[in-house]
Symmetry: C2
Subunit: 427 residues, 2 copies
Amino acid sequence: MSKPPHVVIVGGGFAGLYCARKLRGAPVRISLIDRRNFHLFQPLLYQVATASLSPADIASPIRTVLRKQGNAQVWMGEVKKVDRDRREIVLADGSRVHYDYLVLATGVTHSYFGNDEWAGHAPGLKTVDDATEIRRRFLLAFEAAEREADPEARRRLLTFVIVGAGPTGVELAGAMAEIARQVMPMDFRAIDTTTTRILLLEGVDRVLPTYPPELSRKAQSHLEALGVEVRTNARVTEIGNEHVAIGEERIEAGNTFWAAGVAASEVGATLGAKLDEAGRVRVEPDGSLPGSPEVFVVGDLANLPQEDGSPVPGVAPAAIQMGKHAARMILRDLEGDAREPFRYVDKGDLATIGRAAAVARLGRVKLSGFIAWFIWVVVHILYLIGFRNRALVMLQWAWAYLTYQRGIRLITGDRQVELYRAREIEE
Amino acid sequence: MSKPPHVVIVGGGFAGLYCARKLRGAPVRISLIDRRNFHLFQPLLYQVATASLSPADIASPIRTVLRKQGNAQVWMGEVKKVDRDRREIVLADGSRVHYDYLVLATGVTHSYFGNDEWAGHAPGLKTVDDATEIRRRFLLAFEAAEREADPEARRRLLTFVIVGAGPTGVELAGAMAEIARQVMPMDFRAIDTTTTRILLLEGVDRVLPTYPPELSRKAQSHLEALGVEVRTNARVTEIGNEHVAIGEERIEAGNTFWAAGVAASEVGATLGAKLDEAGRVRVEPDGSLPGSPEVFVVGDLANLPQEDGSPVPGVAPAAIQMGKHAARMILRDLEGDAREPFRYVDKGDLATIGRAAAVARLGRVKLSGFIAWFIWVVVHILYLIGFRNRALVMLQWAWAYLTYQRGIRLITGDRQVELYRAREIEE
């Protein structure tokens, strides 16, 4: 009997991990390769950036998730290239791995729309390290402002710009406004943290552009109630160390965070396949590469057209479904059955705005306010419990919400407070 | 009426923070200055390094701890120098702060006994960043070993050396051995993590040299039961990237961790006072500086002789007591009362060895095994609850112990797996 086929899955995000789990017990040998040793529950990453959760609360070691799945191996490594002719992937260290099936699920990274020099001034939010860096900068600004004597510099330190009002930008802005206005005031003596400015800039005419317009309006008014200054039709033309420009207008801001654009991860381009304008790989209706049925591209990296022509959206539920679909197609191949096109089951959209408000679309039903927030909590509790069996995380989270605590307010890393003109500490 | 006196406390560790809290409601203005924005419960730092707790579980923002103490301000900054003549401290940014009373509580850092080039090869464990770096290196070694084809290189990757068998070294070694032998085996396919070698090197003739010899023997046998190789009378003469030398003997080890020596933080030397051989400041029996009664040095930075001539030990309870004592002496000054010498109340020593064993000295009573471990847990629960009001941390911790989980197994930071010769992933 010949060896079972080798299924190489690159990327341990939603798409890759659910593909591997779907192949549990199947007559295949699975190698899941990721640059990181953990799977990240990215929808809650903004809560790490805003000091509500620790990184470990939303991350699980991939090999622990797959520990009881005997047909799966996990490898930590960075895939640089796919060699379709030889059916091999090439890792950063030069080693090559042969595959019978390849499931490419490396996702997306930030895109600064060709302005890569903005990256240092405006960190984005894709990884745990991104999140702790945003947390560091956000918290450090208040520490520096507390010691800053120059009112203009202090004002600048307490001004934060978030570029992009998709779900990540909206959630970041809401959480930051809440911390500044509700959690921090008692902690500081020299500054009034309720004067903190949080500006949320969006290039098009409304926040949450992929949501129904009605929910965009609700989200904007929730944000404004929290004190966020929402600016739509505001295209950023420049980002410096301490300012953001929108055409002629210059906003003095000590910190800018990037939640605007994404670009496909670079390994997609090495497939030699057709890419869309965002670098995503154009795939067949079954999720495979044209001309290479043994290669699947799933998750955010894929551009898979739906019946109306628009691509499947880059959200976690779609990634999970695509990952599982690729697994099913591999199983059908092994059984000699024909492939089937992928159909995205759109269950809706959910975005939180601060502590007890959200907007939700469930099929055609649109909800906002506390009820939407409650649904959001339940969905995330169910996911986290099902996935990690760690109900305690949710307890801790509920506790933080109930008590307005933000326990994770740690400034780690080596860089320290930089001041313009230090306030006399004694005054 | 004149302004209340300005008490500047440098350092928000046990000594500094308890000094500030003791002055609650007192007619003084307190400025607590720390390089970090959080107080760290250092006795549990080894649990961060060994993936049992998140940094936030053992850290609290200093300004939150003191938020309701109206006479206290908190500043983030690094103190470089004390100018006793002008009664000023000088910060890294050049700003100067006048004090009426100074309480210097900046603690200690690692000392490589003059071999500073060892620092890069053998990180120590004093800060949160140290702990996540040790965690990163420890976990990464297993990931690299899983992909390593060369048996010798794999053996080296799975060999860890801990230098120094004080409480930190003992606790690190015990926890690391447990993870390798009890938590990880199921997660790996190519390597057998139970073959991991953990070597604990101690320069003198027994582990826990400051404990009663009877407990040193118990601790060593607990460690050996967990699979730790304990080497006493083993003085390290060289540490390289992948080896440690003890005289002529060379140990091939992918990772070395430093738990051996401490040296006083450098600001102590700027006092112009007498220092001991470890750089600690020699103080009067009341904790103040000879010739400068308005300057107190407390905690690990101080060398305060007890009645038998030996200095007060560098442990958390002593730091807490010294911090409170300095506060009391300031209050007595304000009342016109005479100062009193500091008397250390030695309640005992506690060190854990793995999941359910410890050694304890409570006054003259010596305990070991599960009962000592239980006492250790209760002491730490009481401390953490009293201090942080976060019983959930303890729940999470108890959960991790009960279920053998190590949930915090995240490899963060930019450096990736480095391999000698990559195993064929498919094999």
